[in-house]
């Protein structure tokens, strides 16, 4: 009586399997496409950037109009100063906000502040540039490194603060309670017990924010873009920067300047990607450690 059951897929099942195969193929292709685009962009920058790299780039400023040669030393130094100042502004402020939210604030208040930071993170960076222009550049009648750094700091603030909040939330309450139980006051607990455990997380969050700020152009356009082509260390003057230099040189019909734009893009991308990769690796490690895995 027993009838042989075919294990071969029939028409309907076969169609379902084919659809499944097709969709899996599409998803795989999409991932390959994204990786492919990254490769294409990075390779174009390498291809055009590396040949344009030379010593002059790091030791000379822009050549006078119409002359060949010259470099982007002023932009490299300016970028370092701008991002450094922005970090000095955003790091303490961001950490203090996170401590308040993590250790002191009532839930409703901390929700409000989190929302505010998320909103700030969502404000287009060009609008931040326009804001700082109105706040600092207009009253002083001139652009300055301070204004540019302040605009970059606004970009960094939510990143630093949210990263710090996230690691603070990972600190087990038992650690704080143990400290309280020993009679240690709250401020000492925060500064001596809680903060040291999250230091790594704060640092990596900051490095990611630095990587982001180093590549930002829009906040600087209205605040620190009308600079002299010279090495400047004085933040009360407009400071040159790599992103603004790329932005301006990319549009020039001059081959030398185009090449320098690629070289600047190469330097910037190496800097930014190196920071991101290190920070991500460190972040993953410190998360694992805090979560005790």
């Amino acid at each position: 009586m027993s009838q042989a059951v075919s294990l071969e897929a029939g028409g309907r099942v076969r169609r379902r399997k084919l659809v499944n195969r097709a969709m899996e193929g599409v998803a795989t292709l999409a991932a390959l496409l994204a990786v492919g685009v990254l490769v294409v962009v990075v390779v174009s920058v390498l291809q055009r950037g590396i040949p344009a790299i030379n010593l002059d780039l790091f030791t000379k400023v822009q050549a006078p109009f119409g002359e060949a040669g010259g470099g982007i030393e002023h932009a490299i130094i300016g970028s370092l100063i701008l991002v450094g100042l922005a970090t000095l502004m955003a790091l303490p402020m961001g950490v203090l906000i996170a401590i308040y939210v993590g250790e002191f604030a009532r839930p409703s208040v901390s929700r409000l502040i989190r929302l505010a930071l998320d909103v700030l993170n969502g404000v287009p960076s060009i609008v931040i540039g326009v804001f700082v222009y109105a706040l600092i550049v207009v009253p002083l009648h001139r652009q300055s490194g301070w204004a540019g750094a302040f605009a970059l700091a606004i970009v960094m603030l939510p990143l630093v603060s949210r990263a710090t909040m996230e690691v603070l939330a990972l600190v087990p309450d038992t650690l704080r309670e143990a400290s309280f139980a020993l009679g240690v006051s709250r401020w000492r607990t925060v500064l001596r017990v809680v903060m040291p455990t999250v230091l790594g997380g704060v640092m990596t969050g900051t490095v990611l924010a630095v990587a982001r700020a180093a590549g930002e152009t829009a906040p600087l356009l209205f605040t620190s873009s009308l600079y002299a082509n010279a090495v400047t260390f004085d933040p009360s003057q407009p400071l040159p920067s790599l992103p603004v230099t790329i932005f301006i040189y990319a549009d020039q019909p001059d081959k030398t300047l185009n090449d320098q734009a690629w070289a600047a893009a190469f330097i910037l991308i190496v800097f930014v990607l190196a920071l991101s990769v290190t920070a991500r690796a460190a972040l993953a490690r410190s998360r694992r450690k805090l979560e005790g895995r």
């Binding site: 609008v127 996230e166 991500r280």
Partner: protein, 325 residues
């Protein structure tokens, strides 16, 4: 979270019975005040930002009122300014980028959470996220000098030959065009949207997925029937956040779009967006009314991005979507 501690720290018993040490009380107060001030500072900063942008726009609001939003003329010579063409361009480019990036991002999320060999997941995930770290000005430089010529020589004619009958691919493409802007924006928002989708898909409980597979569904049927419905709200939030990025992107767009106010569905023609117009005029605004009109554009941009973000955050909070740094 620290309720028990909150209560006890107010009346910490001490052996000496002389109350808490003065330095402790002062220290607590000082740290609380200092951090509280910083938090207050963040709120003030946002208030000030909104105030300053609106204040700067006021002369233009005074002169044009709401007709600014519906007027498409932008003429510094006659001092006539309107935002319609820029609003149109912003909608056009960000929707275009969303249409390209949404299916790709969801597919990447699915690949990374379901399909990729375990050993490749971390590496590919990191590569996709690094795409997000590329500065927009570098992407714009690539857009002008590499993508532009490629679009003119290869992609444009190809699209025209198969889709030339739609209103989107008419005539021949210029080096600077809506099309280049859409491509650059898609590249910018795909990494964000796809890494959030991956997190979402990883959150789908294993037993639900295995239940579906156990019923004999194929993997794709399980994705469509279980994973997509389960993560729908989060996916919408992820795409909204990505679109917020696209709406606000000034630099890369201004580099590739051609900065010509242009209301047309034809992706082959140059255009302009709110953000790219502001960026393009950084050194060029002369009259006070023109500057005020740029602030007006910034105010519109601010409102759009605030709404997009608040809605996305609301969805995130409501449906407990994982955060992404």
């Amino acid at each position: 979270m620290l309720l028990g501690v909150e209560a006890s720290s107010a009346q910490q018993p001490t052996l000496a019975g002389s109350g808490r040490r003065l330095s402790d009380r002062l220290g607590d107060l000082a740290l609380r005040a200092l951090t509280g001030l910083a938090a207050l500072g963040a709120l003030v900063l946002i208030g000030l930002l909104v105030y300053k942008v609106v204040d700067g726009a006021w002369p233009a609001v005074d002169a044009f009122g709401l007709s600014f939003l519906t007027n498409q003329v932008w003429n510094p010579v006659t001092n006539q300014f309107g935002a319609l063409a820029f609003i149109f361009g912003t909608v056009m480019t960000s929707l275009g980028a969303l249409i390209v990036a949404a299916p790709v991002s969801i597919a990447i999320g699915l690949y990374l959470s379901e399909l990729a060999p375990r050993s490749a997941r971390g590496a590919i995930g990191t590569l996709v996220e690094l795409l997000a770290a590329i500065p927009s000005v570098v992407l714009g430089l690539w857009g002008i000098l590499v993508l532009g010529p490629f679009v003119v020589k290869t992609l444009g004619p190809f699209l025209h030959s198969i889709l030339g009958w739609t209103p989107f691919f008419q005539g021949s493409v210029l080096v600077s065009s809506y099309l280049s802007a859409v491509i650059v924006l898609s590249i910018m928002i795909t990494p964000i949207a796809s890494s959030i989708s991956r997190e979402l898909f990883l959150q789908v409980p294993r037993d639900v997925k295995e239940g579906a597979l156990g019923l004999g569904l194929t993997r794709w049927e399980m994705v469509r029937g279980v994973m997509l419905p389960f993560t729908r709200a989060g996916l919408v939030a992820a795409l909204l956040l990505g679109m917020g990025r696209a709406i606000g992107e000034a630099i890369a767009v201004t580099q590739v779009i051609g900065n010509t106010p242009n209301i047309t569905l034809n992706l082959f023609s140059p255009g302009d967006t709110l953000a790219s117009r502001i960026a393009a005029q950084y050194a060029g605004a002369v009259s006070n009314l023109q500057v005020a009109s740029l602030f007006y554009l910034a105010a519109i941009l601010l409102v759009i991005s605030l709404v997009t973000n608040v809605v996305a955050q609301w969805i995130v909070g409501r449906f407990a979507v994982p955060r992404h740094a």
